[in-house]
């Protein structure tokens, strides 16, 4: 399909594709097996300027936006979505600073993020607060010129590997959801340590760790936005980042389809390549159609975000929801086309099926995405009635 990329966007996509094919794909199986953080590849991405694509030029970026980020994430995901999410999570951690940071904060942090010298992470989830984010227990108590941070975050992507963390914590528990604030915490700050490293089903190249804060002193200049605005920062961050999860899902699914087509043309049963059987052909046709529909939605929403459209929560949730459900289905079908071989680690599609699953869970489960969409629908209808 023709998505009318600018010359620069096509350049970004092609370079990401080249890196994915030449540097990532050959290592994907090994990275998955060892569950090792892909520093060598992250350095290639950095040196090739791929961390610059979504940041403004004045902070060392190339002046693109969420759409450019999606193009890169999709290409990387075709080869290994564990690598892709490590890349994309760095944008997730950067969005709060980009969207709500002060000029000083942007100048201090964004250039190193753009150059890929420092990775970022975003910490919201806690053991007792996943979908119910407002239930977070981590506290940040103002004490003179700093905040004292106490609590534990879990399942944090890039945990341990990132240098810059944006953390959502309660500055005023009494105010409930309006009592949360976003803070920048640098690795190495006293009282900030790492806990459990998760052993995951998929995206195994990415790092998922616990962050532990005990009397961690965070300078008060590190507050992002206003005190009490933490959940707004988090929600607006997700509005910008969810199309990226959609792009990740599209990439995984496309990678699985590409391999399924190749396999179907080679595998002979009943004296014919299985690609000559209509049952297989129709599966391939459905997979390709579903991928294209998801891609079109993801691209459209990413462009809306970049244009600064209002009320982006619903389309953003839709792009993540639709693409991730699609990826789960398409990768499952890819394994089916590979038959017994698809179930084996020697072949690439079982990894893709495991990798696809996470896209239905993180950055808000797909149940939560449906809640967001439904809430927006009902609110809108109520508004129309009033008029």
């Amino acid at each position: 399909m023709e998505y009318f990329l600018t010359e620069e966007q096509a350049m970004i996509r092609d370079l990401a594709r080249k890196i994915a094919e030449e540097k990532i794909a050959p290592k994907a199986q090994e990275l998955d097996e060892k569950g090792e953080f892909p520093w060598e590849i992250i350095k290639v991405l950095a040196q090739s300027d791929l961390f610059r694509v979504f940041l403004p030029e004045e902070y060392g970026g190339l002046g693109g936006g969420v759409f450019d980020l999606c193009l890169v994430t999709e290409e990387l995901s075709k080869a290994c979505s564990g690598v892709a999410v490590s890349y994309a999570a760095s944008a997730l951690g950067a969005f709060p600073i980009l969207l709500y940071g002060t000029e000083e904060q942007k100048k201090k942090y964004l250039p190193d993020i753009a150059s890929g010298k420092k990775l970022t992470a975003f910490g919201l989830t806690e053991p007792e607060a996943g979908s119910d984010a407002a239930a977070i227990q981590t506290t940040a108590v103002k004490d003179g010129d700093h905040y004292l941070l106490n609590g534990t975050k879990c399942f944090i992507t890039n945990g341990g590997e990132a240098e810059i963390y944006t953390i959502i914590a309660m500055t005023d528990k009494k105010k409930g959801a309006r009592g949360a604030s976003a803070l920048i915490v640098e690795k190495g700050t006293e009282g900030f340590t790492f806990g459990k490293e998760e052993d995951k089903m998929g995206i195994r190249a990415s790092a998922t760790k616990e962050l532990v804060f005990s009397d961690c002193k965070v300078p008060k200049e590190n507050l992002i936005g206003k005190e009490g605005g933490g959940f707004i920062v988090a929600m607006k961050t997700f509005d910008s980042s969810r199309p990226g999860i959609g792009a990740q899902a599209v990439g995984i699914a496309q990678g699985a389809l590409d391999r399924a087509i190749d396999y179907a043309r080679e595998r002979v049963q009943f004296g014919h390549p299985i690609s000559s059987f209509q049952g297989i052909q129709h599966m391939l046709a459905d997979m390709a159609t579903q991928i294209e529909a998801a891609r079109a939605l993801v691209y459209a929403v990413a462009r809306m975000v970049d244009k600064g459209c209002k009320d982006i929560a619903r389309p953003s949730a839709m792009s993540k929801l639709f693409a991730s459900d699609m990826a789960m289905k398409v990768t499952t079908d890819a394994v089916q086309i590979f038959g017994g071989y698809g179930y084996m680690k020697e072949y690439p599609v079982e990894k893709m099926m495991r990798d696809a699953k996470i896209t239905q869970i993180y950055e808000g489960t797909n149940q939560i995405q449906r809640n967001i969409i439904a809430l927006a629908l009902i609110k809108e209808a109520a508004k129309r009635k009033k008029k």
Binding site: E7, E8, M11, I12, L15, K18, I19, E22, K23, V44, Q47, S48, D49, L50, R52, V53, L62
Partner: protein
């Protein structure tokens, strides 16, 4: 440090097809790439510049489409591209190529080091590097696998041998040809690609170079390729199987049979 890297654009194929009638390469439908050995020369040039400051220029003799190769080199960190292009350069052998490149390099001006690939994937002679050094009257070392040290007026390198390597020190300016062991070429960067897109490629012809017409192209080429052919593949060898002791016994028997021993 001023560095000049010589690159050749070659057809992207490992099984080169040759027209049996004309004995020339079939280039139709074959995309062009930078000669793979030259990508190591580019990388080494860029690394030296990053370490010692200065400027890296890439130069190539070839048709106008070679501009793409020069732009690709710029996207990999090269500062400037020079294209030597003229119908009269066509059909050059290694002697005429070395002469023409030497003319171009003299026109570029002052340099400390010239880096070439070990050999071109198509022509395969490995003569242009040494030939060019002779034309410029500078020392050269071929098959460099590592640059150990660069000083104000000298360079120390490791030259790959069949077994082990030689350590050679020579004065600058000089020329080296490099093997793939020397580095791992980087991926292009987006900033580099943007720069490459807008870069001005300097193009010089015979007149610009003030080259002597009987020393360039076909006319300046004493070497003529009369025939290129694919040798008959050798018949399959015989595999001797069994335990090592059995294999040894069978081998000795065969050698006796053929009166070798």
């Amino acid at each position: 440090m001023n560095i000049i890297v010589c690159i050749k654009q070659v057809p992207d194929t490992t099984d080169i097809r040759i027209d049996p009638k004309t004995n020339t390469l079939i280039r139709e439908g074959v995309p062009s790439i930078i000669n793979p050995f030259d990508t190591y020369a580019i990388e080494e040039g860029v690394r030296l510049k990053e370490k010692h400051q200065g400027k890296v220029t890439v130069i190539s003799m070839g048709p106008s489409q070679v501009e793409d190769a020069l732009r690709e080199a710029i996207s990999l960190g090269i500062d400037e591209g020079v294209l030597l292009s003229d119908r009269a350069f066509a059909g050059a052998d290694t002697l005429a190529t070395s002469y023409t490149l030497a003319k171009g390099i003299k026109k570029i001006g002052k340099f400390d080091l010239i880096i070439c690939g070990k050999q071109a994937m198509d022509g395969d002679t490995a003569q242009v590097g040494p030939g060019l050094a002779e034309k410029l009257n500078i020392p050269h070392v071929t098959y460099v696998k590592k640059i150990e040290e660069v000083k104000e007026n000298s360079i120390q390198v490791e030259r790959l041998m069949e077994e082990g390597y030689e350590v050679i020190k020579m004065p600058l300016p000089a020329l080296i040809t490099v093997v793939k062991e020397i580095n791992e070429p980087r991926m292009p960067s987006l900033k580099g690609k943007l720069k490459a897109k807008n870069a001005q490629i300097i193009t010089w012809n015979t007149k610009d170079l003030e080259a002597e017409e009987n020393r360039i192209g076909l006319e300046g080429s004493p070497t003529q390729v009369i025939k290129i052919f694919t040798p008959q593949p050798r018949g399959k060898g015989e595999t001797i199987e069994g335990t090592p002791a059995e294999q040894a016994a069978k081998l000795v028997e065969k050698l006796r049979e053929t009166k070798i021993v």
